[in-house]
Symmetry: C2
């Protein structure tokens, strides 16, 4: 908690340490988050997501550099869904990010799964809150667009940029489809490669077919082209992100997003807290005996839950 004033004053080492605490999720992290929370709400949170190979890390780098050139400070949270198989590739991305690291107006942090994916989404959300409170104007959250946790993370952004590239086969269509539902802006990166125009057209067609699940009646996700490696199209992308922010503000959606985020936070923390308290009260041993009884088909899980929760109430005479 003594880190809080340092973080609010912009101390980078305090910031890094506090995010580590947040990743470990103990009582000190919660106290610090509570103290920082009133200072959040000013940053524009931009999710950048896409399948591996689309060049989204490079795009994040050039975006960050252009935002800096406009005088904005930028926090970057890169989410690594660490797998024994993919670890290597993502490490490469981190190395590429180092060319931003000298700039005091940029703060880069990568988050890795340790244990549950649900925990990762929570920790990422909290890290974004810390950067928000620390005063960064924009927070870029980079995720690989695979898996439910990734989608959940992307959903916490105000503006979600989905990166595609030409020549990804039809096989990843379903993957793309899942991502398109959360896209506010679509970017066909590597637009100098053959098939870029075709990919852009296919995205437009898919947009025509699908209904947006985000309920943004007044916003049709634009399909942009870019070449992150030489910066082509990045200015237009920046403008579009700005236009989406303006749209969110003027339509009142920004306020609605905040409420939805608040509700999701509240419900997932309530779940964790209630189960945690019950486990503590009932005792792990007792719960393990219930697990045995279910595994032995003596009782089904629905009835077991009923009995555990009701049995708890009885002793108190309620």
């Amino acid at each position: 908690v003594e880190l809080v004033p340092l973080v609010l004053a912009g101390d980078r080492r305090a910031l890094a340490r506090l995010i580590s605490y947040v990743e470990d999720d103990g009582p000190p992290a919660r106290a610090a988050l509570a103290a920082l929370f009133p200072h959040t709400g000013s940053a524009h949170i931009v999710g950048v997501t896409g399948a591996p190979g689309t060049g989204k890390s490079t795009l994040v780098n050039v975006l960050a550099r252009s935002m800096r050139a406009q005088g904005q400070t930028v926090g970057i949270v890169a989410v690594d869904p660490t797998s024994p198989f993919t670890g290597g590739a993502l490490l490469g991305d981190r190395v590429r990010m180092r060319d931003l690291a000298g700039d005091p107006g940029i703060f880069i942090r990568s988050m890795a799964t340790r244990g549950s994916l649900g925990g990762l989404a929570q920790a990422t959300g909290d890290a974004v809150k810390v950067l928000d409170a620390a005063g960064f104007d924009v927070i870029l959250v980079e995720t690989v667009g695979v898996g439910q946790a990734e989608v959940d993370i992307a959903r916490t952004a105000h503006t979600t940029v989905v990166v595609e590239a030409p020549g990804l086969g039809d096989e990843v269509q379903a993957l793309k489809a899942g991502l398109m539902e959360i896209a506010d802006v679509l970017v066909v990166n590597k637009a100098d490669r053959p098939g870029a125009a075709q990919t852009a057209r296919a995205l437009e067609v898919t947009l025509d077919l699908g209904r947006s699940t985000k309920g943004q009646a007044g916003w049709r996700p634009p399909v942009l082209k870019a070449i992150a490696l030489d910066g082509t199209g990045v200015d237009e992308l920046l403008e579009t992100i700005g236009a989406h922010r303006a749209y969110l503000r003027e339509s009142g959606l920004l306020v609605r997003q905040e409420r939805e985020r608040a509700r999701a936070d509240l419900m997932s923390l309530l779940e964790r807290e209630l189960v945690g308290r019950l486990v503590e009260r009932v005792g792990v041993d007792v719960l393990e005996r219930w697990v045995d009884r279910i595994a032995d088909r003596e009782v089904d899980a629905y009835s077991a839950v009923e009995m555990i929760v009701e049995g708890e109430r009885d002793p108190r005479g309620v």
Copy 2:
């Protein structure tokens, strides 16, 4: 609940109706599941998962036919993660499945998301339990290998078959990697296509690199080749599935799997029940006011949860 004896007696219409109740998840479904639960535990549950375009539906069909030829009865649960974008492709799969529909030893059911993905995993697990109680020898659970919910569903199977096909680009590597972690058996389908041997080799290499997260020290997932369209390799796949079942039994892993499944069931139902009861007691209006206060930055979600849960205890004088 009056459907239960009919389901146990093998009445197909009762079975179909009960699974519909299970999808809707009301009190009657829970009562029926409780009554059926002691009759579960005999079926071998086989998950078949893979990216779109790998031909996994066709493979499920020929597997089911071969199992029937060996005298086993087969339940098939096909999971549709319905998206406005992918609906069409999966519909095609369902049509293909119709050629099995005349056989009374086969029961086919597809499950679609209505609302939450978590709900789908729950409903699929319950549908599998119903088919298990109804006496089917094998239950094939077919899922598209995209997303966390899919992985959760695949995880409930005793044996998970991951289907690949030659020529899926490197771009889907991460997708594949996520699936490989849950694979007990790998199948390179469409093995007559160019690149099949290369795909199989790549899978072997990946297996060498990665540690299995399933903790099966005595089982290295075999990489098989198959051509589902003409039945090539299907006998070997059947044998391998049988060998994996024998391995699970002899190693004691089957018992451990049952316990883990029981624990996961218990914990996820406890979560739902505890939150549901709290919402009822505290009232939706009061919770919505907490959401407002969080959205307005008056209080953070951690502190709100603390106050809601503690505040509840006070009035009772605890």
